[in-house]
Symmetry: D3
Subunit: 243 residues, 6 copies
């Protein structure tokens, strides 16, 4: 079966990672997974939230949002509504947890890094693109802090790399990296976050239309692990470039 | 290794399901998983939200909350803070999705069921207890509506049963149904929602301390599937009793 | 005239006070006035709000809330609406004032007690049940603090006891402790809070349907004072039990 | 004992009622009880809230607020804080109930009257001044609607008059119409709302410092009833004047 | 062409400035521009916001609001809506900037002055009346602080005076100080804030119906400068009176 | 005097207008004024807000926002704070008014266009870049609607073009199109919105440090009018390109 855009089932969309997109942020990346485009900035400031002061440990957190017309129909701004929706909260928390999984707080020292992931254009997989891009912005911010001696010489706050991809069963077939049209037709939808060495940070599978069996789960996990490995390679290639 | 309360690794805490707890609600259950106690009420009203009117289909949604002193230290009320936290949103959405997985909207007809899951006392596993109890409250509300002829004769809105349990790796050992003390020490934490026939509705695994490998994931899924089967039996036993 | 549940005009509903309901709170009570059930927890923490620091005096405050399906039709959660209603505010303030009336702040020392009164099921008189139950939870929290030496030896922060009851004129007849069906039919509705020695802490009378005369007010006060005396006895009996 | 401003215990402060203060409102009054000044406007619009449509009955409601510098120290604006405080809610509800006690909804027809009571300067007794002034603004708005034929000829929506006064025990002495300095020193504080024929609409007594006995309650009620009678006279005198 | 109230094009409405309107505020003025009435209070407190502490400099800020029935139809309270509207924000910011333009922060020392401008009745020009009145309240508060020695002897925090007026093109004719009926018919609307020596603090011109040409802009500025000079005279006359 | 980036006083920064930036929006532009980059999308939907239904006229409105790390230090998200700041409100209103100045509502018919202007990177002049870019997005959305026959054949909703630029006096010299470093040092700051034929839509001048004289105002207006003419040319060039 050929997919809507001609990909095979186990193929990622074209992925690009453009570093140094913002002149202000300590790390910044415009990541695209096909037509999904997310601007990820990493803001590093000295000091930590009050509850962590004096611990010698740093903190990493994330906020996710979508521009009102990132999607096919305009959504109301959460700032105008005066409250953040459940979906936004959930994804912000997921991104934060995913990146904290590869952070050594002691090595980071009492510095705080905030990752802002703003979806400029959405076509499925915004949270997985955000995690994948945010890791690169995080790495740039850490390098910036090392250059500025905000992190002690010889300490490496990053304990690994992290990337994420969506998988799903569409028309009975497990597919990697769903576009929006595929996502809405999926029976099962799963987001998987992996470290560069192939272990899991998050596995979130949801039966959208029908409960799924153990072997379907396994097939999806296989796809996702392979996809994350591809993404890890793209990340490292991007980071090797001179910014 | 013996657990803090003497259970084996694959053993549930004592689970009780007390139906008919509230005189007002169409379905109501006080569910306990050990010291975790959740009051689940199902409120059925005729009619559906505006975006669904005229579709002939019903709707099911859920709200989760915790009493301020359900936990060891008092938390601020979300009503006083004026906003719902991300964790509350996330769990409410999970409960709603889990129960909708076993609902046939057409058979339900244009009726709305709201499941309120209020944690009266928390000791780990509040979301899984909530889902397990809410299913029973939902079943009672459906039966009430059938008796009242709000649902067409011969139609069965419930397409199956659903229960949920937490699993985690603590000190290297996969354990079923974590208490709070176990939960805070877990390296990996997973919530699994299954249908009565052993398929998955939700799988949410998180690396709390260290990324987890595929075989660890498999061991946790094995534990969870068995635990959900035990819970399905407890649910059906409860539902067989005269209320 | 016989009342809907066979009580005489001056008779309370069956009142039960179950202490030690929560394993976490320093004091906790499930109080029922007939079908009205309120969970009252007293949370004692060392320290006081900033405006009271260094005064050597403690603080007592209260928050009242209703579960969404405590009533016959489901109410929207105040946390979801993002604001607390006027009724909730008013009752929280009433409970706080009532309990502060029997507190010696100096003897309490710089400790804070928060009373959470959550209505699990409502059938009229929720605020009076809350005050009556909260007093018992408060007494248990104070005893806990004395045992923990958080309160100086020999000091007694409680200067008396406090209980509360509703009264009203229904069909021209003054009645004690109104159920919901009676409450909605009342011409005049009054909540009275008394100390154990029969003095008034709060008197709040409202003409629901028609202004009331001085002798009607007097009749209601007579009923309420007697009712509070009965409640004081039930409280002291409950407190004498081994928890 | 002479009071701070030379009044006797049973004497009101100088009370003035200036009608027609606003050119826009259907009824408007600047009422002063000594240095307490409240601007009361009555806004009458055709139609009723949705829940009352088609009933043939009208609606009356009230909102109370204080200018930030009405008091000795500036208070934060509730609009800036984004939420209304409990005290504001409570007083708004009290004013609304008090005025509804003298309204015949059927005679009012499907019209809505909103009473806005904004405290321009506060020196104790702001809620009682607000009720007393709002009644006069209400009467003017009703007369306006009668002249405009918005109310059916021959129908009188006002079933009586209403006024309010504060009383309290200060230094052991029951006093009428407390100024701020007296109010803060009061052991017991009571607000009483009476109809012009001497019956009670609201009685709200609070033990500020010490519980109060039945005879103290009686003494306060005697004072309040006499004070409300004086206010009713001042109201009727004001209403007799050509506006 | 004669205006609705008989004024010439370049004539102000009758302007009154009543000082000492509030007994609590350090400076207070009831200002009227025809039927527009604004109560302006200046609250001076020792100390400054945290971000300015230790600078030796003071701070001046302003808040503008309208009573619900200040206008012809009742507006919802912003405190009830839970958020301040854009117009309110914008005007508050304008008033604050306008008054800060004549403040020497060093001479003020670490004191904060908050100007509250509450519109009691609106008939066009509320923001310009507010600025004009607030300047006088500010001057009184500064004088009060000088008398109390909160400001160092010999220092003068006021570097000039400030007043404001609206101008607009109505029916092709430039007019000074628009009433509401004129304002709604204006093609172009401009608010101008001037110092007493005739320089500009703010110029805010808006094409309501049609873009305006440079010579129209010039004609409006001429009118406004002359109007502000008249207002400056009225301010100084008011300030010369014994309060 | 040479400017920080080598421009002359009357020179714009490099301005680029990239059309068709978003695949979802009916019109979309990424506009840059030097390092200031704003994404402007125009969302056209059939229908109008309720208050305008049946009028046969359309509506145009705008929302402005900044990504948290658009600036040199990260700002808190307004969605997280739960309220929109005064500056955001003010600029949103300004953009809306500016674009409505060149709209013929009748010709637009009952369609609504929302302009979202999200600042991706800020370096001074974000509101003027937003207006200039939003006009182009608006023109594209109008053309889209004409092609889709949502606008009646032969009708042209655009009555002209609109662009905006900032000017200010820095170190005594009037400068066009201020960068951030210039803006913070400006004594006077002015934003001017002009139509393509050189008339004014908005003139907003503010004395940041010192009041400004009439001849300074004139010099700034001269600069701004010329700058807007340059921008109008850049806009028309961009619109002539095949998208």
């Amino acid at each position: 079966m050929s997919r809507i855009d001609g990909r095979t089932a186990e193929q990622l969309r074209p992925v690009t990672i453009e570093r140094g997109w913002s002149k202000h942020a300590e790390g910044s990346v415009l990541v695209s997974f096909g037509d999904t485009k997310v601007l990820c900035t990493a803001s590093l400031t000295e000091g930590v939230p009050r509850w962590r002061k004096g611990s010698g440990e740093g903190w990493v957190t994330a906020e996710y949002a979508m521009l009102p017309r990132a999607t096919n129909t305009r959504g109301d701004r959460e700032s105008v509504k005066g409250r953040i929706g459940g979906r936004t909260h959930e994804i912000s928390r997921l991104i934060g947890r995913s990146l904290r999984a590869v952070i050594d707080y002691k090595a980071l020292g009492e510095n705080t890094i905030v990752l802002d992931c703003d979806v400029l254009q959405a076509d499925g997989g915004t949270r997985t693109a955000a995690i994948t891009g945010a890791y690169v912005a995080l790495a740039d911010a850490v390098a910036w802090a090392q250059a500025k001696k905000l992190i002690k010489p010889g300490r490496q706050p990053l304990t690994g790399t992290v990337s994420a991809v969506s998988v799903g069963i569409v028309g009975g077939v497990p597919l990697l990296d769903l576009r929006y049209e595929e996502d809405v037709r999926a029976d099962t939808d799963m987001n998987v976050v992996c470290t560069g060495d192939g272990r899991f940070v998050e596995v979130q599978g949801t039966a959208e239309a029908a409960p799924f069996a153990r072997d379907e789960l396994n097939a999806l996990l296989d796809l996702a692990v392979a996809g994350c490995a591809d993404l890890a390679l793209i990340q490292s290639t991007a980071l090797e470039k001179q910014k």
